[in-house]
């Protein structure tokens, strides 16, 4: 079983310490492509977290039956099967959402972070730990996606949560926040360069925060001694 400390460290690892978006810089293709508003970002992030939890759990469950030589093809096969199952199910049961995420669902297969976690973590750990690690990594990606989506949507269109009616039905339309009324729009933020610039700023902010923490720690040590 899993202890609370382990649980917490897995989440800390996925969300902050080894965050896929701003620390490992893996899986940037969907991250940059779909982060032009909060709702798209959140939806793709949750889909990725789901796929990662399921694939890490499945990979870990069969890890003793997979010889080392063929582990990569088997992992790719498992991930591809799971993504296709999720893709077909979404198409059948949550069609409007499927229309929004469109091509990015199958693309989760090629997102290297899924395979990276399967090989680096799930192949060596207990299924429960692996599923939680996959989920935490996916949520870490979701976090970056949502922050990026919020920055780009706010700068580009002056709104937040636009398109929420595509996910929660027509009645949710009133939840769209027009933060900056009569905003003219800033096209660059919505286009791909906006994604690179915003992600660059996020990485810089994260690095600055880490550097400052290290510096503070250094500054306090001699004082304590």
């Amino acid at each position: 079983m899993i202890t609370m400390t382990e649980f917490r460290s897995l989440f800390y690892n996925g969300l902050i310490k080894q965050n896929t978006g701003v620390v490992q810089l893996l899986g940037l293709c969907p991250l940059l492509a779909i982060s032009n508003n909060v709702i798209n970002a959140l939806s793709l992030g949750m889909a990725t977290a789901l796929v990662m939890a399921a694939s890490s759990g499945a990979v870990s469950g069969v890890r003793h039956f997979v010889p080392n030589e063929i582990r990569i093809p088997v992992f790719v096969l498992i991930i591809a099967v799971l993504v296709t199952v999720i893709d077909l199910s979404m198409n059948a049961f949550v069609h409007p959402l499927y229309l929004v995420l469109g091509i990015f669902i199958p693309l989760i297969t090629t997102n290297c972070i899924v395979l990276a976690r399967a090989d680096a973590f799930a192949a060596k750990n207990h299924p429960l730990h692996s599923a939680i690690d996959g989920m935490a990594m996916g949520l870490g990606l979701t976090l970056v996606l949502v922050v990026l989506g919020a920055i780009r949507e706010l700068a580009g269109k002056g709104t937040l949560l636009s398109g929420i009616d595509l996910v929660f039905g027509e009645s949710a339309k009133s939840l769209v926040l027009h933060v900056l009324p009569n905003y003219q729009g800033f096209l660059l933020a919505i286009l791909p360069p906006g994604a690179f610039i915003a992600l660059g700023l996020l990485i810089a902010a994260n690095n600055w925060y880490k550097a400052r923490t290290v510096q503070r720690a250094r500054a306090t040590v001699p004082a304590a001694a």
């Binding site: 039956f65 063929i70 077909l88 198409n91 059948a92």
Partner: protein, 218 residues
Amino acid sequence: MTSPIQAALRNAQRTGTILFVFAAIGTAMLAFTHDRTEPTITRGQLAEKRALLGQVLPATLYDNDLLSTQQSVPPDDLLGTRQASALWLARRGGQFSGVVLEAVAPDGYSGDISLLIGIDANGTVTGVRVTAHHETPGLGDYIDHAKSAWIDQFAGKSLTAPEPKHWKVAKDGGVFDARAGATITPRAVVKAVKSALDYFARHRAVFAAPPASKETPP
């Protein structure tokens, strides 16, 4: 006595078998999911298509099952198509009452703009929708009905009203609005709708011909 070659062969056989078992299980899972979801997906796609056709051709105009009249037409310069495209024939009381054409505006700002155009029996546009495009978000994408009502201005237009020389955006001396800063996109759409009307005028006799006996409803 086992030689290294025999050992390698045995290992290859073992890993091959394991890979095969995984592939077989994966295939079975996919087949099961496909089997379970396919009816829902097909139904969803048909409903979507029907709703889209309904947006360009008012339901009051026809009483036949539009989807079952789908025909394939060869690529045509007037439709802007480089591949065979589809059209649907509307009838009311057995009489030809309109057609829905698939057309392409090949000269959008960034590539093809796919259109669905409804035209009634008199050659008047009943509705136009953009089904796929790559225009700039926030700039040229107002041709999409989800973004703005711009495309609605085609309804009610025909080759006689406005006259052919006024089938242009306002900036070029025509009757169709276009937003400042993005004229290439609407210009392409206006041109494509006009050519589709030309196509209709040229083929109207074929469309209006009574349906072949095999597709006559009972």
